[in-house]
Amino acid sequence: MATKASRTAARMMISPSVILLLGWMIIPLSMTIYFSFLRYNLITPTGNPFVGWENYYWFVTDPSFKAAMINTLLLVGGILLITVIGGILLSLLLDRPMFGQGVIRIMVIAPFFVMPTVSALVWKNMFMNPVNGIFGQMATGMGFEPVDFFGQIPLLSIIFIASWQWLPFATLILFTAMQSLDQEQLEAAEMDGASWSSRFWFIILPHLARAITVVILIETIFLLSVFAEILVTTNGGPGTATTNLTYLIYVSSLLQFDVGMGSAGGVIAIILANIVAIFLMRMIGKNLDA
């Protein structure tokens, strides 16, 4: 883009797609913001008066909001912890030369291709069901009381299912980063007298730092909106034990038919997601500069 004319032409050329994308985003966003200030309940059609911050007030003071925030945090934090640590360990293993390398690497990625609804249903019915599930059968077979996963440890079970799905993503990114590590650095460290654990701590882990940050940020954005896994397994229960922010918005707008309340929740979720997104953009931008 050297000349002024070509720059103008370029802007003209890309403007249709930019305008389309912008509209695609702006129109639903402004409607959501607009609805969030209205009393708009589909069961009680009283006209839709403007009520200011009332929806936000009731949404935030609802006892299930606090539970949902804590659950969201636990969910995101738990999955991040498992996928990052698991991803590092898995990529350390994958980095070693072994028989059937190519097939194994593809198989490790496979869970990422399974739809969340499907994987949650498979886990729920085939593994975690206390009567028919494999875990239940195994426990019974060995004479233990089978664990009712979604009754006794519902949030942990969902964290486990979602971690299983996201582990491949983390592994993929961390593994790629690990492969880009200069082997001579490791050899130099070996000559310098560093043990395996020192090499991991002082050379490999710092090298992975950026990749880990990227994994954390990208996963956070997607994990804030975990929904299918909850819907098909626990429906947010028992009580509010597995209700996260996304699920609470779903409950308000589609189960209680309160469009205004749901929109207010949506705006809060958007703000939360954007805070993460800003960090992510700056992070990736910095990586591109370097």
Partner: protein, 333 residues
């Protein structure tokens, strides 16, 4: 102390034997250069000594003690890698201190040694910088600094200058030679550049396909190359080889004559020829001369101010005292 002995050392990668059984003696305080074309196994040999590769057969002794199965860190050797292999997330200070830190030295002692090394290598002003902010030559010095602080029995250099530009390379060459004189520690240096080998070495080991072709001081190799390969490899520009009739006159299959041992004259001489391309270096001029009845053009050296041009007729006279004769197998007669 840094005396290293290789005894029937052999290395295979799978089926391929890259280093056939090989013996080598490296004395304490020597500057030994492994030189050879790429793929000749010189880096592998260095890595065997370092312990980064396991030997397939034979033994390595360091200062008389068996070291074949000793892990790299315990051999008391320090290595400078071709890519420098600095730790990019650590400052220069931390890079140099890394081996000390791994050895569990206390902070004050670490600082003292790092500063001493930095002073020797002119790095004092750069101690807080990251490797990414340094030039190639400075990175090279950091890598050397990291090796020095360990006070190793021997330094191993793996083509350390190949990533530097020509001017810097000459400078670093001097610095490394200077360092060797000052520390008087054994150094093993791998390069494919015969100029580096000639200028720095006490002892040159010429390798080809994993075999040692000849071991000796630079001048020994220059004066008495054992075979055609060494003759062609040592010396710049390359020695000229002549086969056939001219060689038969000297009872040899091949004769070799260096460009600097050939007289150029316009009046008369042994071999008449025509001047081809000439390379003026200022101090010297190298002419490529095509002689009658010779398959390849010969390279000859003349003074910087010789007035000869493309297509001129000249006569070449080899200096009989510096003529090298080789038999059919390429061995020196």
């Amino acid at each position: 102390m840094g005396q290293i002995t290789l005894n029937k050392v052999r290395k295979c990668f799978g089926e391929v034997e890259v280093i056939p059984p090989l013996d080598l003696e490296i004395n304490d305080g020597e500057f030994v250069v492994f030189v050879g074309p790429s793929g000749c196994g010189k880096s592998t040999l260095l890595r065997l000594i370092a312990g980064l590769e396991d030997v397939s057969d034979g033994e390595i002794r360091i200062d008389g003690a068996e070291a074949t199965d000793v892990p790299p860190a315990k051999r008391g050797l320090a290595m400078v890698f071709q890519s420098y292999a600095l730790y990019p997330h650590m400052s220069v200070r931390k890079n140099i201190a890394f081996p000390l830190r791994m050895a569990g030295l206390d902070k004050a002692a670490q600082d003292k040694k790092v500063e001493e090394a930095a002073r020797v290598l002119n790095l004092t002003d750069y101690l807080e910088r990251k490797p990414g902010q340094l030039s190639g030559g400075q990175r090279q010095r950091v890598a050397i600094g990291r090796a020095i602080v360990r006070e190793p029995a021997a330094f191993l250099f793996d083509e350390p200058l190949s990533n530097l530009d020509a001017a810097l390379r000459v400078g670093m060459r001097l610095e490394i030679s200077e360092l060797h004189k000052r520390l008087a520690t054994t150094m093993i240096y791998v390069t494919h550049d015969q100029v580096e080998a000639m200028t720095m070495a006490d002892k040159i080991v010429v390798l080809r396909a994993g075999n040692i072709e000849q071991v000796g001081s630079p001048l020994e190799l220059y004066r008495n190359p054992r075979n055609l390969f060494v003759a062609g490899f040592i010396g710049s520009p390359k020695m000229n080889f002549v086969n056939g009739q001219e060689a038969a006159k000297h009872d040899a299959h091949t004769i070799g004559i260096r460009p600097e041992h050939t007289q150029v004259s316009t009046e008369g001489g042994d071999w008449p020829g025509v001047v081809g391309v000439s390379e003026h270096l200022g101090s010297d001029t190298f002419f490529h001369v095509t002689c009658e009845g010779f398959a390849d053009p010969l390279t000859v050296r003349a003074g910087g101010e010789v007035d000869l041009h493309y297509g001129d007729k000249v006569f070449l006279t080899p200096d009989a005292a510096h003529l090298h004769r080789f038999d059919k197998e390429g061995l020196r007669l």
